[in-house]
């Protein structure tokens, strides 16, 4: 069964996860923002997606070391080209998966 200790842990986790997701949406949608902030926020998506993506491609998450030969990175190059040419989200996901699946197949031999 579920102990109260465990419930306390996940409730605490839930609260500290929810608050940073919630506060900007409630606070920032209610007032007009200074133009520098809007301009800064405009760059956040490109910056944050790149900051999530690139380390996942070129570093080993276990050892935290740079490795440009990872299949994740090699597959990312044609996947990027496909995304730029087609602008198709579904197509890019499928192409990336197929290419990565192929590298996994060859590496496992």
């Amino acid at each position: 069964m579920v102990s109260t200790e465990y419930l306390a842990v996940i409730l605490g986790m839930g609260m500290v996860t929810f608050l940073p997701r919630w506060l900007p949406l409630i606070y920032l949608t209610k007032r007009s923002l200074p133009s520098w902030l809007v301009e800064w926020l405009d760059f956040i998506p490109a910056a944050i997606l790149s900051a999530i993506l690139l380390p996942a491609l070129v570093t080993d998450s276990a050892t935290r070391s740079l490795d440009l030969g990872r299949p994740e990175f090699i597959v990312a190059i044609p996947t990027f080209v496909f995304a730029i040419l087609t602008k198709s989200l579904g197509g890019t996901v499928i192409v990336g998966m197929v290419l990565f699946g192929l590298t996994q197949k060859f590496l496992s031999f």
Binding site: T29, F43, A47, S50, T59, L66
Partner: protein, 241 residues
């Protein structure tokens, strides 16, 4: 199909729903292997399917759930688990701020329900959709909860019988990476965005090797966005996009 204007409520509702679900499928595909893996791992760490499902409902944040399970298994205290979760998920603060620009003066209750579902993945999908202008908060809510539902179900399935499912087939481990690649491409709306993204990526790679945890995401993207603003001022790039 021709999209004729349909203002009748049931038709409109159905379209809102199907658009939201359609936007969520790459996320769901990507959550499938991760959710299953989480369920298997958490079950091996001694959690029951019910406990695992409850964590997925209350927290709904993949990486911090993985970390919490390993901390629970190591006997960490409540406070250290909650504090770690807070730091790991702080990046959503930036994501909600960027989303807020598109959600001026919307219903607070809906915003609160939307906030619960802000993840790396739903943020990236919804943001590029909001820019299309055809997107609305209702469709975004459907997208979030479709992804949320998938996460909860897959983590519980993983807990019950995940070890029997070939979780790494068909390159499915790459679904989220490929999705992020395409969504990053959508965010590049001029040379200055390329510069910003490159700076953020390179900073993130080096910071990730220097500092533990995932705070490199927040630091690198805040700094790169600031450099983007300064470059735009100094050079005038991206003014007339």
């Amino acid at each position: 199909m021709k999209s004729k204007k349909d203002n009748s409520r049931p038709g409109h509702r159905r379209r809102t729903f199907s658009r939201g679900v359609a936007a969520a499928w790459p996320i769901c595909l990507g959550y499938l292997p991760i959710g299953l893996a989480f369920g298997v791992l958490a079950q091996k760490a001694g959690l029951s399917p019910l406990q695992i499902g409850l964590m997925s409902i209350f927290v709904f944040a993949g990486s911090s759930q993985f970390i919490a399970v390993s901390m629970l298994a190591a006997g960490a205290s409540l406070l250290s688990i909650v504090a770690t979760t807070f730091v790991v998920n702080l990046r959503h603060f930036l994501m909600s701020s960027a989303l807020a620009v598109f959600l001026k003066n919307t219903d607070r209750k809906k915003l609160s329900f939307f906030a619960y579902g802000v993840t790396d993945e739903s943020f990236a999908v919804n943001l590029s959709k909001f820019r299309d202008s055809q997107w609305d908060l209702n469709s975004a809510l459907v997208t979030n909860y479709t992804a949320n539902f998938t996460w909860i179900i897959t983590t519980v399935i993983g807990a019950i019988g995940g070890q029997f499912i070939p979780a790494h087939a068909f390159g499915i481990d790459y679904a989220l990476i490929a999705m992020f690649i395409c969504l990053l491409v959508f965010q590049i709306r001029g040379f200055i965005y390329v510069i910003t993204a490159v700076i953020a990526g390179i900073c993130a790679v080096f910071l990730s090797m220097l500092i533990p945890g995932n705070s490199y995401i927040v630091i690198a993207s805040m700094a790169a966005a600031a450099i983007g603003v300064v470059l735009k001022k100094k050079t005038g790039w991206g003014e007339g996009r």
